[in-house]
């Protein structure tokens, strides 16, 4: 059994049932919060000493290579393990048709994902693992392993099955929401837009592939994994293996990017665990890049039917955002395309619906800003079309439809700086230089245009805990099963503790990514900083109470700075106040504030692009993002998060397209040469500007989610700029040159 380090000390728990107007981060005097402090884990990463999941060196480690199915739908007739058992170094071939995961699990679930792989439901489904003494030997045997399939008819082509969609159960957003009568409103309107936008399947393509090392110690499993949410991932893994939650520990200290693809456990974890149990040895399973594409998570393709209606003055009377998405048969998850549309704009008559089309393609699930990242393409491009029809500036159209309260519920926004962001962005970007008439600005072969789009991303708070230990030498450890997936969690959590406790950053040791530490929601949905950050806040608040008591002063009279407690005209080293050391735990829980206010981060994107008048190649020339996401905890890591999101937006608009062969369901472009992420040359100077904001309804640190705000709205700003540049309205992402060719000026 695993020994828990924290949990014995006092717990300071807070449920967000009322606003939290006062924050210790505003009264702390250490002066580290919000500052652009370098990542505390940076030196480890650049020197190669941050240990990632696949890098643990364990005695007796057996190397596993996963085997993917070579049919898109069928049934396994036989696996001829004997054919490869004699190959050099081969230890075993492990198949478990009942236990292996058919597909990855969605984030935050506490149950097992769909299991069982005798019946194959998509090309590349992981059906076996080959174990050998070296990776190369295992790989050779995996290639050679004969598997016989009974092939069946699969559904691979979205277009052929698009009418077979059904309304799935509600998820983070209602599957179907209607208000008023949109059809009537469209008929009565002065101006309408009725168009359909299409987005392709995408892959998170995190730099680090999915990887697990499984080690059994009697009946307890330790899994070194590349996971975003270890607390719930351990529960998923335990359920998948039929063991108690208490018998599974996940260690995920460093994660090389996740973007949603590592929210839930993926097939390699269970394959490694089953094989390790059978072999009685630690087993490593790292997905090859092609397997990451084949067998983890894709963002669903979408078809978005947009309807907008206004009066003569441009006031929205109707918003329709009716979407088709796809997933594996039997899976309920749908890309929540319309999630941002619910709260973006006013408009009395509304229809925001989703249908799910079953396809035999890789599981669809969360990828950076599920919902908004693609949904705002439909919404914000349609808004651009509407502005043009109205002869109105796109910013003005958004301003007059910026609602004072939630347009669907009679509750206020916790904070909302959409119009403020747009105005600031217009000023910084030089929006007044844009010519509303498309195709008017040309530099040599390049047609130049500008576009704008709003950014909306729902804010979430998730139950999370963190522990703080302060030792007599004045040093501290902050521990939580929270993760740092490259975002800066290590740094911002240390900053929060340092600010409140007055303990210098270099005296704080961060310990993340281990389920023996206080449970946390991990990194996902941009809730990580606010949730784990609040837990650290509450633990620090509790520690501060103890220090005040030890000093014999009221909390309000205590100042903590540079390792000293100051009060009552005394200055005492903090270490001298903790006796043999103190341990405290903080715990945050979401509460009724979520119902009493609508919480979201807001902002906007501006893009300037060049469209080559000969070839239709598009190059982004500059972009600006203006974001209001509550308190910025670290100006550098927050900016980096936004830069990453904006880069994702460039990819969504211009390059990323996960292509399946319509005949077989097989992924065609399953490597980084042909799945085109934006490269450095595609990403110009990006500017990020933050609007100063505090959200007292969100949590005690007054921060909202930021990581996914940067992608929401980024793509449509680029798309709208393309239209402004060349006058060709492409509604099918990504906008590759072939889609523009026919509309370009004659040679």
């Amino acid at each position: 059994m695993f020994e828990k380090i924290f949990g014995a000390g006092d717990t300071n728990s807070l449920t967000m049932n009322k606003p939290h107007p006062d924050s210790l981060l505003d009264t702390g005097v250490q002066g580290v919060i919000s500052r652009p402090i370098d990542r505390v884990d940076g030196p480890l990463k650049v020197s190669g000493t941050a240990t990632y999941a696949a890098e643990y060196q364990l005695d007796g480690l057996a190397h596993g290579v996963l085997v993917g199915s070579t049919v898109g739908k069928g049934r396994i007739v036989s696996v001829d393990a004997d054919a490869v058992l004699g190959m050099p170094g081969v230890i075993d071939v492990v198949t478990d048709f009942d236990t292996f995961l058919r597909n990855a699990q969605q984030g935050g679930e506490t149950t097992a994902p769909t299991q069982g792989v005798r019946d194959v439901d998509y090309f590349g489904e992981i059906v076996a693992i080959v174990l050998a003494e070296s990776f190369e030997e295992a790989r050779a045997a995996a290639y050679a392993l004969p598997i016989e399939y009974e092939k069946k008819e699969g559904q691979y082509a979205f277009q052929a099955h698009r009418t077979e969609g059904e309304t799935p159960p509600d998820s983070v957003t209602p599957a179907k929401f209607t208000q008023g009568d949109i059809d009537q409103a469209m008929r009565d309107a002065a101006v309408t837009v009725d168009v359909t936008y299409v987005t392709p399947s995408q892959n998170s393509a995190a730099m680090e592939p999915h990887a697990s090392i499984a080690v059994w110690n009697d009946d307890a499993l330790t899994l070194y994994g590349a996971y975003q949410m270890p607390t719930s991932d351990a529960q998923q893994l335990a359920k998948s293996l039929g063991v108690s939650d208490k018998k599974v520990r996940i260690i995920a200290r460093y994660i090389g990017g996740g973007f949603g693809s590592k929210l839930g456990i993926a097939p390699e974890s269970v394959a490694a665990a089953v094989a390790a149990k059978k072999l009685g040895r630690p087993v490593k399973a790292v997905m090859a890049r092609g397997q990451v594409f084949d067998a983890t998570v894709r963002r669903s393709n979408t078809e978005q039917h947009m309807r907008l209606a206004t009066d003569r003055n441009g006031r929205l009377t109707a918003i329709g955002h009716d979407s088709l998405t796809s997933n594996l048969p039997g899976e309920d998850y749908f890309e929540p395309v319309g999630i941002g549309t619910h709260l973006a704009y006013a408009g009395e008559n509304r229809s925001i619906t989703h249908q799910l089309v079953p396809l035999n393609l890789t599981l669809s699930g969360s990828m950076r800003a599920p919902g908004e990242a693609v949904g705002m393409i439909g919404l914000e491009c349609a808004m651009d079309e509407l502005a043009e029809k109205l002869g109105m500036d796109p910013i003005e159209l958004r301003r007059i439809n910026d609602p004072a309260v939630d347009p669907e519920k009679d509750v206020p926004f916790s904070s909302r700086a959409l119009t403020q962001s747009l105005d600031k962005g217009a000023e910084l970007f030089g929006w007044n230089k844009r010519n509303a008439m498309p195709g008017q600005r040309r530099e040599g072969e390049w047609l130049i245009g500008m576009g704008v789009a709003s950014a909306v991303r729902g804010n979430q708070l998730q139950q999370s805990a963190a522990g703080i230990e302060i030792r007599p030498d004045g040093t501290a450890t902050v521990a939580s099963a929270m993760t740092d997936i490259g975002t800066g969690s290590y740094t911002i959590l240390a900053q929060i503790a340092s600010e409140i406790l007055g303990i210098p950053l270099d005296k704080i040791t961060m310990k993340l990514g281990d389920t023996i530490d206080p449970p946390a929601a991990g990194s996902g949905g941009s809730w990580g900083a606010a949730s784990a950050g609040s837990a650290v806040y509450l633990a620090a608040e509790q520690a501060r109470k103890k220090l005040a008591a030890a000093m014999g002063v009221e909390e309000a009279e205590l100042t903590l700075k540079d390792g000293y407690a100051i009060g009552d005209n005394r200055q005492v080293p903090i270490g001298e106040l903790v006796g043999s050391g103190i341990e405290v735990t903080g715990e945050i829980k979401p509460g009724s504030q979520e119902k009493q206010t609508t919480q979201a981060s807001f902002g906007c994107h501006f893009a300037e692009v060049g469209v080559n008048a000969v070839t239709g190649e598009v190059r982004v020339r500059r972009m600006l993002g203006v974001f209001a996401a509550g308190r910025v905890l670290n100006a550098k890591t927050a900016r980096s998060q936004c830069l990453g999101g904006m880069t994702f937006g460039i990819g969504a608009a211009l390059t990323e397209d996960l292509i399946h062969d319509q005949r077989t369901g097989k992924l065609v472009n399953r490597d980084l040469a042909e799945y085109h992420l934006p490269v450095n040359a595609d990403v110009p100077q990006l500017e990020v500007h933050f609007i100063d904001e505090r959200d007292i309804h969100a949590n005690p640190i007054h921060a909202k989610g930021i990581g996914e705000l940067g992608i929401s709205g980024a793509a449509p700003a680029v798309v709208n700029a393309i239209y402004n540049a060349c006058g060709v309205r492409v509604r099918d992402m990504p906008i590759t040159c072939d889609k523009l060719l026919a509309g370009l000026p004659p040679m």
Partner: protein, 328 residues
């Protein structure tokens, strides 16, 4: 593990002899071969390492041309002052390809022999006549955005992915080889590659063990403009959808000489004398440029997702000719 033997050759002749055995492959930079071996698309039983042979020089020739050793890295070739001055098209083509790290490692000879980037060639779970003769072509009827519209056959529609080779085709390069039997030969680049026909796995005229030792560039065309224009799906690190390598000399308003080669369109760096004939000796007009495009694309055939390459090639050629003739 797929076992292979490894030998380090100490002379070009020895390398050729060693590599004449069935299943043998040369390895230099390994930027293409090693990837393909990991995927078991290539499964050599013997690797002959030529990377230490003294073939890494760029040398002047008496006729005013250059001889480029087969092991000259792409980065060095692109940065060579003589290449930049006399064969700008080559330097530009090299820099349009791959990434800095790959160019540091990739060799001149290896670049000529790059395998196609056809999605299906790369994936052993699919049929491919080039990888496994007789198994069928998955790209025909499948997704073929980056594949060929010229020179294809019912057995293969792969493109040759090199940028460098397209420039060399425009420069009338000659490939110098060492054969296993001790002979050496010089092969005009126009004779070097083969169309797929019904043997798409045979991509060039090299015999078993025959080693490329260098590439000769003839004396540069005097007072010519050079251009390498590459159209691609992202600004770097993407293969050409269409590329044009051009060297054009003018006599007043008349095209005095032109050599034009194309990437991304065919199974080999593509060159068609009729394209050049459409403009040489004629005054510069849009009509003559359109005639050149007509000549290039007369036999072009799209396969669905690559249909756009035909109008794209037309537009790119016309724009390239405008730039090459100074009639922008």
């Amino acid at each position: 593990m797929k076992l292979f033997t490894y030998e380090r050759a100490d002379s070009a002749q020895a390398a050729a002899t060693d590599a004449a055995a069935a299943g043998a492959k040369f390895i230099a930079g390994g930027t293409n071969l090693l990837d393909l071996m990991k995927l078991q698309v290539e499964t050599p039983t013997k690797l002959v390492d030529i990377s230490r042979l003294p073939l890494d020089k760029i040398e002047e020739r008496d006729d005013g041309g250059l001889t480029i050793g087969a092991l000259v890295p792409n980065s060095d070739l692109a940065a060579d002052a003589r290449v930049i001055e006399r064969y700008e098209v080559l330097s530009r083509a090299l820099l349009a390809g791959a990434s800095g790290q790959l160019r540091n490692k990739a060799s001149t000879g290896g670049n000529l022999l790059q395998r196609t980037r056809c999605y299906y060639f790369y994936d052993t779970a699919t049929a491919c006549n080039k990888r496994e003769p007789g198994s069928g072509c998955s790209a025909i009827g499948g997704f073929n955005r980056i594949l060929a519209v010229l020179g294809t056959s019912e057995h293969c529609i792969a493109t040759h992915p090199s940028d460098m080779a397209v420039a060399m085709r425009a420069l009338d390069a000659t490939i110098v080889t060492q054969k296993a039997d001790g002979d050496r030969r010089r092969i005009a680049i126009g004779d070097f590659y083969r169309l797929p026909g019904d043997t798409p796995h045979i991509e060039n005229v090299l015999e078993a063990g025959e080693l490329i030792t260098g590439v000769e560039l003839p004396a540069p065309v005097e007072a010519a403009r050079h251009l390498y224009r590459k159209v691609r799906d992202r600004a770097s690190y993407a293969f050409a959808l269409v590329s044009v390598a051009g060297v054009v000399a003018m006599d007043g308003d008349t095209v005095k000489s032109a050599s034009l080669a194309f990437g991304g369109l065919g199974p080999m760096p593509w060159r068609n004398p009729a394209v050049e004939a459409a403009i040489v000796g004629k005054p510069v007009t849009t009509a003559s440029f359109e005639a050149a495009a007509d000549a290039l694309l007369a036999d072009a055939r799209g396969y669905g997702s690559n249909d756009f390459k035909i109008p794209l090639a037309r537009r790119t050629l016309i724009a390239s000719l405008r730039e090459l003739t100074g009639t922008n």
